[in-house]
């Protein structure tokens, strides 16, 4: 895969680099591409920062969710009672 002039491929490698390790060849290819591509250099920095914010958002959501409403619970309880009766 030649990425020298291909931003689609370069950004894909940037994403892989963030999650897994990439080969030395890929690292070199990416370095060559980034040295001549302002857009992908901006992308690489923003992509890494975006990962940090994404992680925070997904981890935070565990504490911020309200519970199930009273009506929904009543319905569930009814369903379970019915099932237990039919057993």
């Amino acid at each position: 895969m030649h990425i020298k002039n291909n931003c689609r491929k370069a950004t894909m490698i940037i994403e892989k680099r963030e999650v897994d390790s990439i080969s030395l060849l890929k690292r070199l290819e990416l370095a060559v591409h980034l040295s001549g591509c302002k857009e992908c250099t901006i992308y690489a920095v923003q992509s890494r920062q975006l990962n940090e914010v994404l992680r925070d958002i997904f981890l935070q959501s565990t504490i911020s969710e309200p519970g199930l409403g009273r009506a929904a619970k009543k319905q569930l309880q009814q369903l379970i009672n019915d099932e237990l009766k039919n057993k």
């Binding site: 931003c7 999650v19 920062q49 309880q77």
Partner: protein, 189 residues
Amino acid sequence: MNTIEANVVAEKTGHPEKWVDMYADYLFCFAMTRVHDGELAKDLVQETFLAALEKIGCFEGRSSEKTWLTGILKNKIYDAYRRKLKNPVLAEGDRFFRESDGHWLIEQRPEPFVPAMEKLMETKELQQSLQACIKKLPAGWLAIFTLKHLEDQSSDAICATLKISHSNFWVIIHRAKLHLRACLQKKFN
């Protein structure tokens, strides 16, 4: 039978009549943080209780009732992810690069955010904007991020859980990041 013995018996057979009181909120939140859809989360909790009633004989008190129910719910969530990944729809602007040579399309070129990302990261504004951007992604794609961040799963494990190929995994991550970055650029430019 003394209280301790009675507790042990109850521990082994479970008490389904108390499930809603004891676990409904917890299970709903667990599902909500993973599917981000109130109706679906509610359905999944209901399916979990029904499935648990079906196989209550298999519950032997080896794990706590809560752990057992959470395990069933997890499988229901993974099923939902797989269903969603079968038909990923995307609302708008799917094109980022020129077909001919893979260069950025002019209107899609990344630019520094204003204010700069470093400054934005200290504010609530960025998180709120990003949350709005996340909502525009196909639900199945979010499954990958959820498994990665909440379950701490590796790329290999995520592919196995969702039954997708590695190349598909990377295409989704790539697309999702392109979309989220572009969505933020529209707001902070």
